[in-house]
């Protein structure tokens, strides 16, 4: 069983998860406000790109948050396994 600092691993998992939540917050009603500008730009060339870019950003923020969330889960699982195997001594 590898030597793993359980406390630091769990702390890192929590911090990574917190950052992934930040990404979700940025996407969900946060700073992506492109679509809200579309009505003011009706009939402009920029208008019909706004919705597409808005969605693309939100999807990617969600992608990133999901993947970082998975990393956090992976760190927690690693800590669980090491703790179970060593009785918490690692």
């Amino acid at each position: 069983m590898p030597q793993v600092d359980l406390h630091r691993t769990r702390a890192a998992a929590q911090a990574v998860r917190s950052r992934s939540q930040d990404l979700l917050g940025l996407g969900g009603g946060g700073q992506v406000r492109l679509a809200a500008a579309a009505p003011e730009l009706t009939d402009s060339g920029t208008q019909d790109v706004l919705h597409d870019l808005h969605s693309a950003l939100v999807v990617r923020l969600f992608d990133a948050a999901t993947e970082f969330g998975a990393v956090a889960d992976g760190l927690d699982t690693l800590a669980d396994h090491v703790e179970a195997a060593t009785g918490g001594s690692s």
């Binding site: 691993t9 970082f68 690693l78």
Partner: protein
């Protein structure tokens, strides 16, 4: 005027500037997230014995190897800058455009004049040379502003198109994103792989075999090699795999004995009726599911998300987790659909092309233009009252509908629930979506509020409700759970609803299928003895509630709101079964209300006209006059205006009305406004007979009473 000015050129650019600010903040925030991630991933590496250090952004990394988070931030920054420039151009030129247009109009309304000699002497006439000169000066100035705005628009568009390509290009179709891998050096990534924090080498080899077009069964065979406890993280890292699984709605058991056992619990796969298991088998499904190990539940939920997420009897938390996978996948698909519509012709262009075709075809008909235009206008109208799908394009409407669905999906993924769900496998910040199927008009159900709330309402909407507009009802009924912590609300659109009033809302099949589906769904909720459950069915949803009642749905109260009918042949509440699914004794309280003049009254009479209409038309009798129902008063708006007429059909489910207060009152067992009539003699202006007390505009209003005292 010879200079073409578009409406957006007259705007001040406030929302554009706001969007620009948002993008710049996003770029900055992503930089902070990147810094934070670097530090945390470095800490994680150190905790595992890695001896390197990651504490700040490695600005030396350039080119395609830049971390994906940074590339995302760069796209946001360039978008923000471009929009900011456009907003500045609007702020500078927009007011000038408006001013100059006004000056030109004023000039034309009051042109310069001059005196000239005529046979009768001197007369005042328009000084055309001077008018032309002054107009040319103004138009030249206007053209400069318009040109500057057009240039700014073109430049902004070019940047945004490039930014979108960059953002979508962060993950190529059919591949997996590498947000983490792009952040850390290879030796740390290797450590993560060896310790199983990221894809192990074995998992990476599996990921390489996933390809578009692969069947769900083939993919599941591949995924067998991944331990269940690593499967969720693997699917999170490989959304293309989720897409394949999300499309499998009724998987074959094949050689999966646990799934086979689930089918066996419901009596075999062939027992599916109306797309759901029979209500009688839902208890057995629940028992089977509860008896599975956590590992088996997790595996089924991850490998069969479309099946498990919508299967009545599966635990609420597992359904919600499965459906979260489906929503993420639907968001991606909807985004692509939206882009496809957006790239095509708009409704005006479709109309013009159709007109041209008809003109060619009806060249001999002098009124063809007029009649064709009228026909196209009708077919492109938004009412949906007469026809629902005519096969002629209305891209603007489809675009708006697609964007509504995107807004709903984003809300379901990102916005917090009414109440956090701590202590369950579900994340505290996860919404509880109990039905999700984006195909066709879509199916959807969401639980709002505490899972153990003592009062639970189930709202069933009516005709023309689909995935593009269910969000409105979802928000409205969610508000009940937000205001009352002891009450949970479910918005249930777990069936296909009629698309148009005249075309198909009359058809009994919608109520039959919806009634069965609702009955199974309620069984799946397994409300406890301490919970009071109420179905509120509106319009066609009322008929579905009536049919579910006829099939023995296990709830405590059913409220027909502007309902299309009581259920098949139910002209007295005695005709509903005394026992429900599973043989439980039913003691259902039934309520109804319809505003005067609501057009649903036509449908409510179908039962009485059964001799005159086809067998597959109608939904039963009028609940307002059927014995065994307690009728409530739809009353007035808060401003005293009465709910009545055609529009009242929607107003009865609108907060701020007596009707809405009744809905809340019935669900919560609180106060309601009873329906009252009084006998009127032949007073002037009134016909003799029993009249609704609210027919008198001076009537002060009936005092609400406790629900238990609302009966006659």
């Amino acid at each position: 005027m010879s200079v073409e000015v578009k409406a957006w050129m007259r705007r001040a650019g406030g929302s554009v500037a706001d969007a620009a600010t948002g993008m710049e903040v996003l770029a900055s925030s992503l930089g902070e997230v990147e810094d934070g991630m670097l530090a945390h991933l470095g800490d994680a590496g150190s905790a595992m014995g890695w001896e390197g250090a990651l504490t700040a952004r490695a600005d030396t990394v350039t080119g395609a190897n830049r971390p994906l988070l940074r590339r995302l931030a760069e796209a946001a920054q360039s978008t923000g800058t471009a929009l900011s420039t456009l907003a500045s151009a609007l702020a500078e030129h927009g007011p000038a455009v408006t001013r100059l247009e006004g000056q030109i109009q004023a000039l034309e309304a009051d042109p310069p004049r001059t005196m000239m000699n005529d046979t009768v002497g001197q007369v005042e006439v328009v000084d055309w040379p001077e008018l032309t000169r002054q107009r040319a000066v103004l138009e030249a100035e206007l053209a400069d502003h318009v040109s500057a705005l057009a240039d700014a628009d073109r430049a902004c568009r070019a940047v945004l198109v490039a930014a979108e390509a960059d953002v979508m290009g962060l993950t190529l179709p059919g591949t997996s994103p590498d947000w983490t891998r792009s952040l850390v050096p290879p030796d740390l990534w290797g450590l993560f792989e060896r310790r199983g924090v990221a894809d192990t080498g074995h998992e990476r080899r599996i990921a390489r075999q996933i390809r578009p077009g692969m069947s769900p069964a083939e993919l599941r065979e591949l995924l067998r090699a991944i331990p269940v406890e690593r499967l969720a993280a693997f699917l999170a890292r490989h959304p293309d795999a989720t897409t394949i699984l999300a499309g499998d709605h009724q998987p074959l058991a094949g050689d999966d004995p646990v799934l086979g056992g689930l089918y066996a619990a419901m009596g075999g796969q062939q027992c599916f009726r109306y797309g759901v298991p029979p209500a009688e088998s839902v208890g057995a499904i629940a028992d089977y599911w509860a008896g599975l190990s956590e590992q088996d539940r997790t595996r089924l939920r991850l490998l069969y998300p479309a099946f498990v997420g919508n299967l009545d009897g599966v635990a609420i938390e597992d359904r919600a987790l499965a459906n979260r996978m489906l929503i993420r996948d639907a968001l991606l698909a909807e985004r692509l659909w939206e882009a496809a519509i957006n790239a095509g012709p708009n409704s005006a262009e479709v109309r013009a092309a159709t007109m041209e075709t008809l003109r060619d075809r009806w060249w001999w008909n002098p009124i063809s233009d007029w009649s064709a235009g009228r026909t196209i206008d009708l077919l492109q109208s938004d009412t949906g009252l007469i026809v629902s799908d005519v096969g002629m394009g209305h891209p603007d409407r489809e675009l708006a509908r697609s964007r509504s669905r995107i807004a709903l999906y984003e809300s379901l993924l990102f916005d917090p629930p009414v109440a956090p769900h701590g202590g369950t496998p579900l994340g505290a910040d996860h919404r509880v979506v109990l039905v999700f199927d984006p195909r066709g008009d879509g199916m959807f159900a969401e639980w709002h509020g505490g899972l153990d709330a003592p009062q639970v309402g189930i709202f069933v909407p009516g005709t023309m409700t689909d995935m593009a507009n269910i969000g409105r009802y979802n928000d409205t009924f969610r508000s009940i759970a937000e205001v009352h912590a002891d009450t949970a609300m479910i918005t249930w659109m777990g069936t296909d609803l009629p698309d148009a009033v005249a075309a198909d809302a009359r058809l009994t099949q919608y109520s039959v299928e919806g009634g069965h589906r609702l009955t199974s769904f309620v069984e799946g909720m397994a409300f406890g003895p301490d919970q009071t459950s109420t179905i509120v069915g509106h319009s066609a949803g009322g008929a579905i509630a009536g049919f579910a009642d006829f099939y023995g749905v296990n709830v405590d109260r059913i409220f027909h709101v502007a309902s299309a009918g009581t259920g098949p042949g139910v002209d007295h509440a005695d005709k509903y079964p005394p026992t429900g699914i599973g043989g439980t004794l039913r003691e259902v309280e039934r309520y109804s209300m319809t505003a005067p003049g609501d057009s649903i009254e036509v449908a409510q009479d179908a039962g009485r006209l059964s001799w005159a209409i086809p067998d597959d038309w109608g939904h039963g009798y009028d609940p307002d006059t059927t014995p065994g129902f307690i009728r409530l008063e739809t009353g007035r708006f808060a401003d005293g205006t009465r709910l009545e007429g055609f529009e009242s059909h929607s107003h009865v489910v609108q907060p701020g009305t007596d009707a809405w207060n009744n809905i809340v009152g019935v669900i919560r067992g609180g106060q309601v406004t009873p329906y009252r009539e009084e006998f009127r003699n032949s007073i002037w202006g009134w016909r003799r007979g029993w009249r609704n007390v609210y027919d008198d505009p001076d009537y002060p209003g009936t005092d609400p009473v406790p629900l238990t005292e609302a009966g006659p």
